[in-house]
């Protein structure tokens, strides 16, 4: 069981045992009753979208855009092909919640997508699954076969006259495909380079047709919203931050894993659920929303609540809900060096400021970490980030810049020490002890 704990859960209720992901188990938990009701009552499309609007469900992939509003952008009464696409290309460092949804509750995603298809007049959908979680791609295909055999996807669903078919598409190792238009390019069989917007996918999406892309957890939440009602869902969280959310906690905690909590829960509670700090050490910093979100120092983090507005107040972003916890054994320069390498490696190369800039960010942080930093390097880094941000087609350039800016802002002394003394403030053996890798043998 990898969803390790929960407060007032919805998504992770009843996910015990190896068969939780199977159709029979899902139906026993009340699964597909929302889709059945929508179809049997021939609920008007606008009414479904309204329910989602009332829930104030915000996109769980990172941007936090209100889902109901997004759905209303689709030209749903226009004739012709329309698509619903699920983004399960989960590769934002620190994020592993969709993996558990696909592992334990794949039918909630299928049901959510079928309801979305109905609401937006789309007859076809794709779920784009991160290539690295291959077993779950295969599992999702099996779940699709089950749903198709039971008449929950395919033609003329439950005799309603509405048809919706759904297929799985796998990635093969490109972080950028988590960007929604790169993902569409990738489904079309091309390299995953983001498209210039506008036009937005709602008017020009997959194969040039109107398309809505949502995150796995977003779709998985839809059946629960339709069953409990939008207002009740909203109340499960806090105003403007509806519902519960899965948080992926990684790094220096005793029990890394996924936790489902109502939005608005204090960070301190989540940290406690994750078993507290490893070895009883002190919290130094936390990246609360995946590697692209600005880092937050311990004192601010301990007073923050886990919701879109609360984390924004703490100076960061809730993003995908990936909480990377770092204790006092962490060298912030080394941590940033690794993140900067990631963005350099994953920049798709389309826009010059990002392609060249991410390379410079990595090279400069790398030389600081390796005792070759120069006095003007921190200003140089600042200047590279401001020359990337806002000058690229997609957000990867910004995502590479925000960690650099926030790490330097909050831990400037540590960077300056590296440049001046050519070594790390945190001794290497202390860093090593922090990882806990050798505790089994030493």
């Amino acid at each position: 069981m990898a969803i390790l704990g929960a407060l007032n859960p919805m998504l992770s209720v009843g996910l015990d045992g190896d068969k939780a992901w199977r159709l029979a188990d899902y139906v026993k938990r009340g699964g597909y009753s929302a889709l059945r009701r929508v179809l049997e009552q021939k609920m008007p499309q606008g009414e479904v979208i309204n329910e989602v609007k009332k829930s104030v469900l915000r996109g769980r992939g990172g941007a936090g855009f209100p889902t109901g509003l997004k759905w209303s952008f689709m030209p749903r009464s226009f004739p012709g092909d329309k698509y619903v696409v699920c983004n399960s290309d989960e590769g934002e460092p620190g994020t592993f919640k969709d993996r558990d949804i696909l592992r334990y509750n794949p039918h909630s995603v299928i049901e959510g997508m079928a309801i979305a298809g109905y609401a937006m007049g789309a007859a076809r959908g794709y779920n784009y699954i991160h290539g690295e979680v291959w077993e779950l791609y295969e599992r999702f295909e099996e779940a699709l076969d089950e749903a198709r055999a039971a008449g929950f996807i395919g033609s003329d669903l439950l005799g309603s006259g509405f048809s919706f078919d759904l297929f799985a598409h796998h990635g093969y190792g490109a972080y950028i495909c988590g960007e929604e238009t790169a993902l569409l390019e990738s489904i079309e069989g091309k390299k995953g380079q983001p498209r210039f917007k506008p036009p937005f996918p709602a008017s020009f999406g997959l194969y040039g047709k109107p398309t809505t892309i949502n995150n796995t957890e977003t779709f998985a939440s839809i059946p629960y919203i339709m069953n409990m009602g939008g207002e009740a869902y909203l109340e499960a969280g806090k105003p403007n931050n509806g519902g519960t959310k899965l948080f992926s906690v990684s790094g220096h905690v005793n029990r890394p894993g996924n936790y489902e909590i109502p939005l608005g829960t204090p960070f301190a509670t989540l940290l406690e659920m994750a078993g507290g700090m490893r070895g009883g050490r002190k919290l130094k910093a936390c990246i609360p929303g995946g590697s692209s979100a600005p880092v937050v120092p311990a004192a601010t983090m301990m007073n923050a609540t886990m919701d879109y507005d609360g984390i924004s107040k703490a100076g960061s972003m809730l993003g995908s809900g990936a909480v990377i916890v770092m204790d006092e054994t962490t060298c912030m320069v080394k941590a940033l060096e690794r993140l900067s390498f990631f963005y350099y490696e994953e920049s798709c190369g389309q826009c010059t400021p990002c392609r060249e800039g991410t390379s410079w960010l990595y090279k400069v942080v790398h030389r600081i970490e390796n005792g070759q930093g120069r006095p003007g390097d921190l200003d140089l880094l600042e200047s590279v980030t401001t020359n990337i941000m806002g000058r690229t087609i997609c957000a990867l350039g910004d995502a590479a810049s925000m960690p650099v800016q926030s790490f330097i802002k909050h831990y400037r002394d540590e960077f300056a020490y590296h440049i001046e003394h050519k070594k790390c403030l945190v001794p290497v053996d202390v860093q090593r002890a922090g990882s806990g890798f050798f505790t089994a043998t030493v």
């Binding site: 989960e90 934002e92 690295e132 190792g173 069989g189 990882s435």
Partner: protein
């Protein structure tokens, strides 16, 4: 070039997309070709392109863009180690160094007997299980402490 079994699997992928959008199956088809051959040669990429009715250069673009495709031969087992920050905090970098020492090779190298190729890799979306590794793009290995790594290496024969 592509066996009838591979072609059958590719046909199943093609069927997922609108009839005029065969190219959508290229990622899956390249993965299938790589499974058959152990890596992706230019001939295999061209065979996939021809089968899908797309320009070989377009298939080559895809093969070079996504990093799970191997454009050069690799060992019987390719072990990819995640060293990204969340894994690093729980020993991902140490795990990579431990593997290098055990195998006597560096990243992007293959053991002399052709058994294992070691790769440093980006986030696999399983940070809660850190340190994490993937064998041959398919099998994810979780919580890879020294003991678990020894066990894995003993299995790779």
């Amino acid at each position: 070039m592509l066996t009838s079994e591979s072609l059958k699997r590719i046909d199943r992928e093609i069927a997922k997309y609108p009839v005029d959008q065969k190219q959508s199956a290229v990622m899956a088809a390249l993965a299938i070709a790589q499974e058959q051959q152990g890596w992706l040669s230019s001939e295999a990429i061209e065979a996939v392109a021809n089968y899908l009715g797309m320009a070989p250069v377009a298939a080559y673009e895809v093969a070079t863009f996504y990093n799970m495709y191997d454009l050069k031969p690799v060992g019987k087992y390719k072990v990819s180690v995640c060293t990204n920050l969340p894994c690093m905090l729980s020993g991902g970098v140490d795990a990579g160094e431990y593997l290098q020492k055990k195998l006597g090779i560096g990243y992007n190298e293959t053991t002399a007997d052709g058994l294992v190729t070691l790769k440093e890799s980006e986030c696999m979306g399983a940070c809660g299980d850190a340190p994490v590794m993937i064998v041959n793009n398919r099998r994810m290995c979780s919580w890879m402490n020294p003991e678990q790594i020894d066990k894995l290496l003993a299995e790779l024969k």
